[in-house]
């Protein structure tokens, strides 16, 4: 790119002097990078709270009753789910990495609507505070599980309305982010940045943005039905008033299944950025990877019924939903094979980001393949509502989206903070995390297959051994996370200065200083080629 961009600029996180307090300066900022960094800190904080809750659930299962009673246990798994899903993983990648890097990857100065971006950040904070309020208000915290299934969510005395209101507000934040990103991608691309010259990460954010816009309103209206049911007795889910609780499940999963793709599509985008950089090869099947993101987003709308095979549905509907579920595996498989093909004959440097990315491919494959087992009708009848499901979605959510956040965090850490982390400690943390993860969640597959139901407080003695193994795995997982984050936090302050392009990346963020200046590019970049032209370099 132009040499002008290499001149040092004031980093984006310096004081602007507009406000007296640093906090006000950040909260009032419309700079996409600042908003992204704040989001990043927030989602990681909620992630750690969620991890602690999950860790305590595992501890309690070591010997049910020694740590908490049944009611507390129900509240713990509900909060674990609500926090990890609604506060960490659904907003997760788009709001943090999307905000920081989407405009840079497109060669833009900011998103299309910077003030709406700030509004969605405020809404996120508000929603999070309202959810936290439901814990400390008079009465008990929510105990319905993160799905808020009717009729229990309408009848329980717990603070459901507050929690649901919080999720409703978060939904607004999510919609506005999606809207903003899709418009940004349509309108803000740098000259010469054609659709098929865009890196893969913006492509996945584009697909994600559409899902956020078109699925989240359904969740909003469904949550509103819960609140109206609780306050005004409008019984859309109450059979005694003509309603139907299964209708709730339909409406809920119409949002929440596409939401799975809100979580995992941008994760795939991060992996698609990392794999070419560390194998020094162009992204194999670039167009297929980009288009399969759209394919997943579209097909993902028509599979929600597979969450409800045992709830009561016609056989025809079940067969169709099962079949379409299998179809989703096709674009996902396209991505997996293309990543592996990118690695093939590449000049691989096994740095921490790639290690996390490879773990993503491995864990996500396990999660995806077990998804096919429970997506087919006959095994589903046996496995529905067991630990097998818990194992499956932790492999997809944590092994998939969670690991890709860690991958992205290591990949972009030098760009965001301007400093390098300790490679050795990152890999040490990864090792403990990876081993712990598999011990923790793989034993859940076994438990589920043996028949252990999810969300149960207690279990018969024959499940004890696997529960102990699983809990021991959670200790390694937690230790790994501690090492990883201790390394990153320490390096953010004490690490050595990072160069502009530590990994030899080809995308636009590596053409500007680390950390970037306030308006990203000194001079508008002009794009003349695709995002991953490593082959030319090799030929030279």
């Amino acid at each position: 790119m132009t040499s002008k961009n290499e001149a040092p600029a004031a980093p984006f996180y310096g004081r602007t002097g507009k406000y007296r307090w640093v906090l006000a300066e950040w909260m009032m900022s419309t700079d996409h990078k600042r908003i992204g960094v704040m989001y990043l800190m927030a989602v990681i904080s909620f992630f750690s709270v969620g991890v602690v809750l999950g860790f305590m659930i595992r501890l309690s299962l070591l010997d049910p009753g020694w740590l908490m009673d049944q009611q507390t246990y129900n509240e713990f798994f509900t909060l674990h789910g609500v926090i990890q899903i609604f506060l960490f993983i659904i907003p997760g990648i788009p709001v943090a990495f999307g905000n920081i890097f989407l405009p840079i990857l497109l060669g833009a100065q900011d998103v299309a609507f910077p003030r709406i971006n700030r509004l969605s950040w405020w809404l996120y904070v508000t929603g999070a505070l309202v959810i936290l309020l439901s814990l400390f208000m008079h009465g008990r915290p929510p105990d319905t599980g993160w799905t808020f299934y009717a009729p229990y969510s309408i009848q329980t005395p717990a603070n459901i309305s507050t929690a649901v209101l919080g999720v409703f507000i978060l939904g607004f934040s999510s919609i506005l982010t999606g809207l903003n990103f899709v418009t940004t991608i349509h309108r803000m691309r740098a000259p010469g940045m054609r659709w098929f010259r865009m890196p893969a990460f913006p492509w996945t954010l584009y697909a994600t943005g559409w899902v956020q816009m078109l699925a989240t309103p359904i969740l909003a209206i469904t949550l509103l039905f819960i609140v109206l049911g609780r306050f005004f007795g409008i019984g859309f889910f109450d059979p005694s008033r003509g309603g139907d609780p299964i209708l709730y499940e339909h409406l809920f999963w119409m949002y929440s299944h596409p939401a799975v793709y809100i979580m995992v599509l941008p994760a795939m985008g991060i992996i698609s950025e990392i794999v070419p950089v560390f194998s020094r090869r162009a992204l194999f099947g670039y167009a297929a990877i980009c288009l399969s993101a759209l394919g997943i987003a579209i097909v993902g709308y028509a599979v929600w019924g597979h969450h409800m095979f045992t709830s009561g549905m016609s056989d025809t509907a079940r067969v169709i939903f099962s079949f379409v579920t299998f179809l989703v595996a096709v674009p996902s498989g396209v991505k997996i094979f293309n990543w592996v093909a990118t690695l093939y004959k590449g000049s691989i440097s096994l740095d921490a980001p790639l290690v996390f990315a490879l773990s993503f491919i491995f864990l996500f494959s396990i999660g995806g393949l077990t998804g096919l087992i429970i997506g087919s009708l006959a095994p589903n009848l046996h496995l529905h509502g067991t630990y097998f499901i818990v194992g499956h979605f932790h492999y997809v959510m944590f092994g998939g989206a969670g690991f890709s956040i860690l991958a992205g965090l290591h990949y972009w850490f030098p760009k965001i903070t301007g400093r390098m982390y300790s490679e050795k400690r990152a890999k040490l943390g990864w090792l403990s995390l990876f081993v712990g993860f598999n011990v923790l969640y793989f034993s859940m597959f076994v438990l589920g297959y043996q028949g252990m139901p999810r969300r149960y407080f207690d279990y018969p003695p024959e499940y004890h051994l696997n529960h102990v193994i699983s809990t021991v795995g959670s200790w390694f997982l937690a230790a790994g996370l501690i090492v990883i984050f201790a390394n990153l936090i320490q390096s953010a302050f004490r690490g050595e200065k990072a160069p502009m392009n530590p990994w030899g990346g080809k995308t636009l963020e590596w053409t500007i200083p680390s950390p970037p200046g306030a308006e990203n590019f000194r001079e508008m970049p002009v794009i003349r080629e695709g995002a991953y032209n490593y082959e030319e370099e090799a030929v030279r």
């Binding site: 299309a112 709406i116 919609i175 309108r187 359904i218 209206i221 859309f236």
Partner: protein, 199 residues
């Protein structure tokens, strides 16, 4: 390079996206309506007879006219007639408020009769009637909320138009407001037959 590049087309695009989300938001309710009506079509018929067709029709006329005035206010602004434009916007607000007042009296008449969610009178009726009035209050209520928000937004537009913050060269905000107002109107065009005309 200049950092403030106004992109009216991008703004309009964002508004259309927002309207998509609104359509889906109401879509969830229309879906419920479709399901419950197919289950209890006869009771929905009977319940719709309780609605005040006259007031509903007047409201439809008012809202359609208000869509006309907001559209005219945009073309007035395009011609640079800020004063005329702001008056047309004010007329739109007045009609929106008139709509809400009429809606209020409709609700009140029903509540006096004891027909409101969870009321003893309603619970004695059939399941279809309970659902019909549940949907009626929910859908017209949320629609009314949208009308109210629309009035507030147009009030800001009147203010901007008078101060010439929006003018013939920069009217994307008013156009987006118009889009929103037409959306509110369209939702009502569907609500009207579904609640008043199915007798």
């Amino acid at each position: 390079m200049n950092s403030e590049r106004i992109d009216p087309q991008g703004k309009k695009m964002g508004m259309w996206f927002f309207l998509f989300t609104e359509i889906l938001f109401f879509g969830g309710m229309f879906l419920l309506y479709a399901i419950f009506r197919s289950l209890y079509s006869r009771e929905f018929h009977a319940a719709a007879a309780e609605e005040n067709l006259l007031l509903g029709t007047i409201n439809t006329v008012i809202l359609l006219t208000s869509s006309l005035t907001i559209a005219l206010s945009i073309s007035a602004l395009r011609r640079g007639e800020n004063l005329l434009s702001s008056r047309l916007q004010a007329a739109t607000i007045l009609m929106g408020l008139a709509f809400l007042v009429i809606k209020f009296f409709e609700w009140k008449a029903k509540i006096v009769l004891g027909i409101y969610p969870d009321s003893p009178v309603l619970l004695r009726l059939g399941k279809g009637e309970i659902l019909f009035f549940g949907l009626y209050y929910m859908m017209t209520g949320l629609h009314g909320l949208h009308v109210l928000v629309g009035c507030a937004v147009i009030a800001f537009m009147v203010f901007f138009t008078r101060r010439e913050t929006i003018n013939r060269g920069n009217y994307a905000r008013l156009e987006n407001t118009g889009l929103y107002w037409h959306f509110v109107d369209i939702v009502w065009i569907y609500l009207y037959p579904l609640f008043y005309l199915i007798t």
